[in-house]
Symmetry: C2
Subunit: 300 residues, 2 copies
């Protein structure tokens, strides 16, 4: 609480980031605009879900903002000071599912959590899920994230890239859900400092720099029905990750959050074909080689 | 172990039930046959996955048989005698996803578990997920299950129907996944007795009597694109249940089972539309009223 900013400063900055990201994504789409659904949390606070469906580029996607408070859930008690009874949490969370299998799915999230006992930390991440992996574009994505990280902490990119590899992983498939990015959690500012807050804002603002050029470059490329089928399969893996492993999704389902905002991350169509294996040396098989941890994208 | 039968008797009976169910479902389909994938478990034993895809009636479905053994997993230890170190488990598990939104999705499962310390029990269940609820057919389904239950235990249907209502429930949606059926677990035979084993076999054999007439009655009915869309949405809920809550699925994913056999329960296509609400008094809204616990289907 003795940071160089208030929780209102954080939620205001996050709300602004939500607006700026929506404008950036609308510019890429060139067709539809984000709708606005305001909602209240049963305990306190609420949020603004902004959803874009059936655009020119995006089939379905959403950029959620929320700022909620309430009694500390039982399972959070091991993470915070013993005297904590209430929490405040604010965040922006987005997932975009493009129509084209050549435009990657993208996810980003920034969040802040504090208790009435002085706990306070930030978390977040950005990761890319190309259906067809394009190496120069993957490099651009990671290099953009690295530049943002480097400006705030010399070891940030290496640490957070490794955490993303571990987090965005589907153990039962033994594969990552895409080509990763960055992931961080429990980052706290020192008293009267705001270095972490500045970093988290920079992550929010770098999103469109990392993703935009890739979406622009690929959005008008023609694609086939077979490529669409591969996209549905990869979206199925995305659903598996989100429903089985994603902490934010499971936290939301278990604490009675707004279902439509939590599950806006799921695609409009997904497929599961029994025992589907791409042909050797097909573009699908080649892409699958990149769904692995430990790839040095910046220097690939 | 001092039951009136051996574990080999159980797995042989289950294997026979798998064959007979596949024949019954092939007769309904009238087109495709079940493939056969034999597989080995890393610890011991294995299974036979029988999959039918792109038939006349069924888009995708599978009837799995397995008989595996190994070291007792850590999380099972509270459920069994303290001296148990190894387990044996055998079961048949099926899910069928028809093309037509007028033919219900169906699931059935029978299973047997024992340890080297004398623990032994059966579990299982059958439940129906109509996309459009047809009350006479729902009655037929429950009455068939009740007749089978009644022949083996006076309180079986009431108990197991209630357990199915509780089990096949999606808490975050506050709805059941369909119209229920029966569900039971931890049913053990007394020494030198085989009443429970006989009941479980009867459940396996009643499956086709409960489901077959419904599938036959509806399989040739014409349907619309809008009905298909509602099917995709309901299938999305099916995916949510299986990945978030189903014990068998989560057990399989956590213990490193054969992924393609575990996830054969997922449909070929499923959809998530943001904040979709059926129009009041539409057939979709009317069907949704039946996705609730506590409906007295036998006397409806």
């Amino acid at each position: 609480m003795n940071a160089g900013y208030t929780k209102e400063d954080v939620s205001a900055a996050f709300r602004e980031i939500q607006t700026s990201i929506c404008l950036g994504l609308e510019a890429i789409d060139g067709g539809e605009h984000f709708s606005r659904d305001e909602w209240q949390h049963h305990d306190g606070g609420g949020g603004l879900s902004r959803i874009l469906t059936h655009g020119r580029v995006f089939e379905k996607g959403g950029v959620n903002f929320s700022a909620v408070e309430g009694r500390l859930p039982e399972f959070m008690k091991t993470r915070v000071n013993a005297s904590a009874t209430h929490f405040f949490a604010t965040g922006v969370s987005l997932v975009m599912h493009p129509h084209s299998p050549l435009v990657p799915i993208v996810h980003a999230n920034i969040r802040y959590f504090q208790t009435n006992a002085g706990d306070a930390w930030f978390g977040g991440g950005i990761d890319l899920t190309p259906i067809y992996v394009n190496v120069p574009q993957g490099k651009h994505f990671h290099q953009t994230l690295k530049a943002t990280c480097d400006a705030h902490g010399a070891d940030y990119y290496d640490r957070f890239k490794r955490e993303a590899d571990d987090y965005f992983f589907i153990p039962h498939r033994k594969e990552t859900r895409g080509i990763g990015g960055i992931f961080f959690d429990y980052l706290s500012d020192k008293p009267n400092d705001r270095l972490v807050f500045d970093f988290v804002k920079a992550v929010g603002h770098t999103f469109i720099n990392a993703y935009g050029p890739i979406a622009e470059e690929n959005k008008a490329l023609p694609y086939t029905e077979d490529q669409k089928k591969w996209q549905w399969i990869r979206r199925g893996r995305y659903v598996e990750f989100n429903l089985v492993y994603d902490r934010g999704t499971r936290f939301g389902l278990e604490t009675g959050g707004r279902i439509e905002s939590i599950l806006m991350s799921l695609p409009e169509h997904a497929s599961w074909f029994y025992n589907h294996q791409p042909h050797e040396q097909s573009p699908e098989a080649e892409s699958s080689k990149y769904y692995n941890k430990g790839i040095d994208w910046v220097n690939l």
